[in-house]
Amino acid sequence: MVEVTITVNGTSYTRKIHPLMRLLDFLRDELKLKGTKEGCGEGECGACTVIMDGRTINSCLVLAASCDGKEIITIEGVGGAELHPIQRAFLEVGAVQCGYCIPGMVLSTKALLDKNLDATEEEIKEAISGNLCRCTGYQKIVEGVKLAQTKMKESRGEACECGRS
């Protein structure tokens, strides 16, 4: 057993775990954060995508023991009392069908837009290329990301105005 301290959605957790435990199992089984999904267990489908220190990773391919001191964001850490603009946008354009890919899609989108709010369609497609969806054909998801860009720019604009006044 090894002791790790991992920050998940702003809260620090210290646990003694098996050295071969995957980050995915740490989140789902240890912390009971069930929003992160397992689709393939081999890094193909992206359903288990989380953000680690600002970058997306497949949590099925990362050992929890290697995450000591890291900061993780899961779907439970996106939005709060109100939906994040990405979540709102996905709802509004109908990007969600079965929903199993959606936590990973939202996190890949967040990792992209946090860095580059002006991402082009090509960059959007690149950013979600590690997230498979079998229902939508991706078009609505790309539309959702674009609407999220608009929403996030609007709220950033408002924040700036507040700052000036």
Partner: protein, 418 residues
């Protein structure tokens, strides 16, 4: 009339909020106190029998609670949407790779993984059939109940011979459509438990909770009212959650152990276990008159339905009924066959038999248009259904046929005169 506000307006799915926040519950997100983990050991050969299984050794492994074989099923040993032919646990002949041999119930996921690795099977292997041609060969091993032809349908109209006599051009080809896997993103998972009121409960992501209830009740020799199926969020299905998959195993394990039991597949088991889209072989002969009107079509469609019937009958019926496409053809002879092999069984998948035949009929249309020297869109416009048309099977299309309008719109984009 009161206006219906939902029509013509974009609606937000009622389940989307839960899904964008990660709160939607799929079966694997559920845990119950004292929950066990069960898994199935599956056949690695496509056709044969089990001579010996090391059940007693598996029972002694650490963390193993129970090892279940077909003799421990209290009720029906087979299930199926139309024909009850898929073994819950094989009691006779293995007909495909992935047939269920043993159900192993353990205290932990790790113990289960270990136990499944320790299973040793001695098989008597038979020579199977893996192509439609081999399955229809004289003297071929019979994979179905009495014949390898599960289903045969004919659609006939007019006089085929006369129809082809009228033809200026005839195109004749054979087309193949491949097997397709659904790969819904959420692998199969079910939890069986005994409810507070004593009912057998199964939490599962399913397309048919009512069918599942009947199948679980039959398997456990219970009344339908003694079984409760609780449908969770469904992580994609596309037809592959129409047949029973982990439902009976989870229920059986809970029934035997009196504890909650989770059955969870990994991606590999998901792909091995559930149905597929029918691979099809489609022979087509289509004739057109000099004026561009279709005059005759002959088609023979063979679907590889694999080891078990599933929806094979209905899928090939649909293929036959859609074989002529959306076109008026006065002289028709179409035959469709669902053929058993030792391949993975084929069943429902988006389109349900109507997805394969357009490959053939539309390719034929393009080739005929080329022979006529006519624009392919114009050729289709000349032959497509409109209100009042009669299909090959004799259905009068009384309303709601808008193909011409669609083609007109497409043509206007291309500045094409129809």
């Amino acid at each position: 009339m009161r206006p219906v506000s939902a029509v013509g307006a974009s609606q937000i799915r009622p389940d989307a909020y839960e899904k964008v926040t990660g709160k939607a519950i799929y079966p694997d997100d559920l845990e119950f106190p004292g929950m066990l983990y069960a898994g199935v050991y599956r056949s690695t050969i496509p056709y044969g029998r089990v001579i010996d299984l090391n059940i007693n050794e598996i029972r002694k492994l650490p963390g193993v609670v129970e090892v279940v074989d077909h003799t421990m099923i209290p009720g029906a040993k087979k299930h199926g949407v139309i024909f009850k032919d898929i073994p819950i646990l094989v009691d006779d002949v293995i007909k495909r790779v992935g047939d269920c041999l043993l159900l192993i119930i353990c205290e932990t996921k790790e113990a289960l993984k270990n136990a499944l690795k320790q299973v040793k099977v001695e098989y008597e292997e038979y020579e199977g059939v893996f192509t439609i041609e081999d399955a229809l060969r004289e003297g071929a091993p019979i994979i179905g109940d009495a014949s390898n032809v599960l289903y045969h349908i004919k659609v006939q109209k007019g006089d085929l011979e006369q129809g082809f006599k009228e033809a200026k051009y005839i195109v004749e080809n054979t087309y193949f459509a491949q097997m397709t896997e659904h790969v819904f993103l959420q692998p199969e998972c079910a939890i069986g438990k005994i409810g507070d009121d004593g009912l057998i409960e199964v939490y599962v992501a399913t397309q048919y909770p009512h069918y599942d209830r009947e199948e679980v009740a039959r398997c456990l020799n219970l009344k339908d009212e003694e079984v409760r199926i609780i449908n969770t969020a469904v992580g994609g299905a596309f037809g592959a959650r129409e047949d029973i998959n982990p439902q009976c195993h989870a229920a059986l394990a809970a029934y035997i152990t009196k504890r909650p039991v989770k059955v969870l597949y990994d991606r590999e088991e998901s792909i091995i276990s559930h149905s597929k889209r029918h691979p099809m072989k489609m022979y087509y002969k289509t004739g057109v008159r000099e004026d561009g009107k279709l005059c005759a079509i002959e088609a023979r469609i063979y679907g590889d339905t694999g080891a078990y019937a599933s929806w094979g009958t209905n899928v090939l019926r649909k293929s036959a009924l859609h074989a002529t496409g959306p076109y008026v053809i006065p002289n028709v002879f179409v035959e469709a066959f669902a053929v058993h092999t030792n391949n993975p069984f084929a069943g429902a998948m988006r389109g349900f038999g109507a997805a394969q035949v357009p490959l053939a009929i539309e390719a034929q249309m393009d080739m005929l248009a080329e022979k006529l020297g006519m624009h392919p869109l114009k050729f289709r416009y000349l032959n497509c259904f409109e209100v009042g048309s009669v299909t090959a099977s004799g259905q009068v299309l009384a309303s709601g046929v808008a193909i011409k309008e669609c083609i007109e719109k497409l043509a206007s984009h291309d500045n094409l005169s129809l």
